[in-house]
Each structure stands twice: as C-alpha cells, then as structure tokens.
Symmetry: C2
Subunit: 317 residues, 2 copies
C-alpha cells in the first residue's frame, strides 16, 4: 500500500500547518483554499514553526471542492461556524470511500460530517495547538501541536477503542512529524478538552481578559473552577467520568502556560463569529439529554450570544 | 409633639433630595456633607426635579458627624461600600433615642447599623428613584421617588407588620411630598427589589449594556429571567415567597422603562466601588443559610469582583 492521500478542508492556521507537514513528508496533499488560493498557487506556503521553518514551493491548490480528487483522508479544519457549507465541501474530496478526520473545536461536532459521509467514515480529534495565520499563505506555529483523535461513535455506544485503521493513521501522521495520539474514547477526550475551553474561551471574551489575568485573579479562578466542575459533571453524566485530579491539573497547567489569547477571544476581537454552539451549546444539550443542568455554562452561553449579537450589530456588514 | 428632626448621612443624589424635600416642608434637617460642605454652606442646595425645581438658601451643613445634634430620625443614604465608616458617623446624630432609616441598596444592609445603635431603633427602606448629583450641591431628580420601608427584624422572625411609629413616619414623609409607603415586611420588599437589581445592575456591568439593550436581546433577557428566578427562589427559601407573576411583571415593567443606567454601572464607569456585597454577596449568603445555592447569581458575583479588581488595578490611586 502506498502512502495515503490527504485533502485539507480549511487551510488556515491549523489545517495549513498539518497539511504542509504532511506534504513536506512526501504525502499527496490537496488543499482547499478560500481567499488565499491564487497567492499560494504562485508563492507556495510558508511555515514559521518553533520546530523549524520551512517553505513548500509547489502546493496542490483548489478553490473549488468539486475539482478535488477523492482522497483517502480528508482533514476537516474549518471553523464549526461554517459547517453549513459541508454539504458542498465534503463530497468531492471524500469520494465514496475516504475517511474524514474532524479537527474542529467543541463537542459532537462530527455529527454534521457523519450525516453527509456516513458515521463509519468519521474520526474526530482535539488539537492542542498554538498557531496563527499571519498573512496570505503564511502560518506561524508558536507552541504545542498534539492531536488526540479517535473513532466517532454515538455518545450512548461503548468507547470503540483503537482499531487498526486508527492506529495506522496515527503512525502515518507521526511519520510526518505530527504528534498524533490515538485515543480509545473520543468523547472522553473532547469533554476533557472542554474543561479548559469552556471556562477560558468563554470568560476571556465576557471579561475581556487574557488567560493569565483570569488565572491570577481569585474570583475569576474560582469561577473557572466552578465551570470546570460543571463540565466534569456533564462528562460523567454522559458516561465519561474524568479523573479526580482533572480540575487541579487543568488549573495548574493553565498557571504555567505562556500568556495566550483563546481562539474565541481572537475570533471575537477580529469580528469573526465565535464557536458558541460547538463549544458551549452542544455540551449544554448533551448534558440536558442526560438530565443534567449546567447553570454557569448556560449563563456563559447566553452572555456570549449577547456579545456576539451586539458585535454583529456594531460591525458594518 | 412637634415635627420630628432629621439627620441626613450621605447627602448625595438620594439623601440630598429627600433631605431637601423635608427641609422645604419645614422640618428641622441636618445634613452631613463630605466634599460639598463648604459649597452648600455658602450657596445652598439646588434641586432640579420633574416635580418642580427648588432651591434651599439656608442649609444646616456639617462636615463632622460628632458636631451634629441628636435627631429623631437619621436617614442613612451612604453607599454600603462606606459602611465601615458607620461607627464614626452614627453616634452623633442618632444620640441615645433616635431611629435610623437605612435607605441603602441590597439585602440585610441594616445589620451593621443595628449592631451600632441596637436593632430596635432600625428601619430599612427600598428606594425606587432616578436621581443624579450633577454638580456641587446640585441634584437632578429624573423620575420615580417611592420609598418602601419598614421595621428591620431578623430574617427568622415573623414579619413585624406596620407599627404606629412606622405609620407616623410614613405620614410625616408624605407630608413633605415624599412617596413613602410603609410595608409590613421589609425582607419581602428587599428581595422583591433585588429581583430587578441583581440581573440588571450585574449584567449591565458585565455585558457593558444599558437596561434597554439587555431587555431587547433574546439571550440577555433569558438570562435576566433565570437570575430573577434564582432570586425569587432564595426569597421563598428564606420564608418570603414572591407572587407568581413577579418575574413577568418585572420584565414587563423593565421593557417600558425609560433608558436607564443602573447605579452599579454608573459606579463602575466612574471608577467608584460597586455595591457587590450588599446587592449580590448578602443574598447569596442568606440563601446559603437556608440551604439554597444560586449558581448564576454567584457567577455574576465573581464576574463583578473580577471587573472591580481589574478596574482598581487599572486606575491610578
């Protein structure tokens, strides 16, 4: 078997970086670009990375998803706020047999992809990555980079474990220098990441604060801990109990992070839509399905929606 | 019996207005001023009111509370954030027999006064008043003006009803044109007012919004309703059930209010300390004493404290 082929849907700070690493390693990679297509076709892709800078001179660039060849693996790295576009974007690159690796923020974000390509063809992953797009075809990878990924299954199904396909995909990604870790239980991993994402994405926008400001303030840190506890309770209520020390570890880890602006705050400050439904709405609804209310997460959800509406009405269209 | 004498502690937008109305009606009124003392001594007090403007030429002005005569009634109209000063402020004007009418925001704010003058000498009231201090010795009364007041008793005591003293004080205040309504149950009245104050004071600061912006947004209005429900639950848990239509009436009333900046937002924007403990902290603690958690009110409490600390650290001292 030859090397797998990859399609990258959403070639920004995340998809662009991982796609470029795969192409550098000799994989056949096809990138869907939006506004940067012509620039990248002419100038290639520039990656500035803490692991070493590199440039791809020749990139398979598409601006039409239907023109893309059917690939073995489609990496979906679009913001979830664009998921209404998936019916147009996925059929070309996924063809009739390829899988989709959903590298989107939030919970149950694979459900829309699964509805289009079929649930057996979907994997999902959480990325722990600090990376920004700093210009056309120019990505700056600042820190981290791990992907924790696994098979997507319904929440009420038992954890699927790591099958041979998932392991071989992990091996291939690792061969390209990507820190890809297969997980036997994607839901557990997604809930675990939300224990950070919900408090720190949400509060950083509502309180106009950096992660450092939040963690160093007694009241904000107390509140972040309360929110984490609600997320841990929801995870447990949906059959995925988190380790006892998960909150303590998350707080401790955050204390030692480099000063960092959450993706939601960056989106908000730039006037882009925030991923409120994926990161907060879906967890609230999954918990409600298990009979659990998350009052503080709900409050954050409504506060973020208020701020989003106000921002939309303040910003000239 | 002659007309009662009054002391006004905190002669700002609220104390200054009511004190001036009493003085205009011929009561013997003694005003404690802070920075405006000399100005008012020389120029008197100017009231611009929707009920008619008036000027007091000669005002009994004090800047030293110990120099004040013992009065029949001391109206306490200081912000609760200054309650650490009460041990110095109250003994002079209250003497050995006078009562104190505590016209401060929040819940259980009478407790500090009661500790100083004794519980049997304390009444409390909720003010429904739109009034601003617009300059030295210059107050603008924009709208409303009602005081709902009654005897202060411990929360676990039965409602005290309206005794002869309370009724006679109401009559005197009314004779000065003040819309003073005696209530048989101060706790009920204070909880009822908090159903507005907690959501609209708190959210207006955290979301940087006017009352109108909050009530007109689907998500903010939903959240305000959730917060009101928590306050109503706390009121009931402490033995003061609110009427079934209280939330609906409060929302409806707010929809028809003139655009209005809450006192907490005005404090925040001007760099003054917010009354977080009186308006949110005390209700949270009273509910906890009755075995009830108020998760969303708690969240607002922590958010406000974060913003207050940040403001303090941003503002040169």
């Amino acid at each position: 078997m030859g090397k797998r082929s990859f399609a990258i849907i959403g070639s920004g700070a995340l998809g662009g970086l991982y796609g470029a690493m795969l192409a550098r390693a000799g994989f056949d990679v096809h990138f869907l670009f939006h506004s940067d297509a012509e620039h990248v076709r002419q100038n290639g892709l520039q990656i500035d990375s803490k692991n070493g800078d590199f440039h791809l001179d020749s990139v398979n660039v598409y601006d039409d998803p239907e023109a893309m060849p059917a690939c073995d693996v489609t990496i979906l790295a679009l913001k979830t706020t664009n998921n209404h576009l998936l019916r147009d974007l996925l059929p070309g690159p996924t063809g009739t047999g390829g899988t989709v690796l959903v590298l989107q923020n939030g919970l149950n974000v694979e459900v829309e992809t699964a509805a289009i390509v079929g649930p057996g063809r979907v994997l999902g992953g959480c990325c722990f990555l600090c990376s920004n797009k700093v210009g056309k075809g120019h990505i700056r990878h600042l820190d981290y980079g791990r992907i924790v990924f696994g098979r997507y299954t319904p929440i009420d199904a038992p954890p699927p474990g790591i099958d041979a396909y998932t392991q071989s995909l992990a091996d291939e990604l690792q061969s390209a220098g990507i820190d890809a870790q297969p997980t036997p239980d994607l839901w557990q991993a997604r809930w675990r990441k939300l224990m950070w994402n919900i408090p720190f994405n949400g509060l950083s926008v509502v309180l106009d604060a950096s992660t450092k400001q939040l963690i160093e303030d007694e009241h904000a840190c107390h509140l972040a801990t309360d929110l984490m506890q609600e997320v841990a309770n929801a995870s447990e209520a949906t059959g995925r109990p988190q380790p006892d020390d998960a909150i303590e570890k998350t707080i401790d880890h955050t204390r030692h992070m480099v000063p960092y602006d959450s993706s939601m705050r960056l989106d908000y400050l730039s006037g882009r839509p925030m991923e409120i439904e994926a990161i907060l709405g879906n967890p609230i609804r999954m918990a409600a399905g298990a009979g659990l209310k998350l009052p503080k997460v709900e409050m954050l959800y409504h506060q973020l929606h208020y701020l989003q509406s106000k921002k939309n009405s303040d910003t000239p269209q």
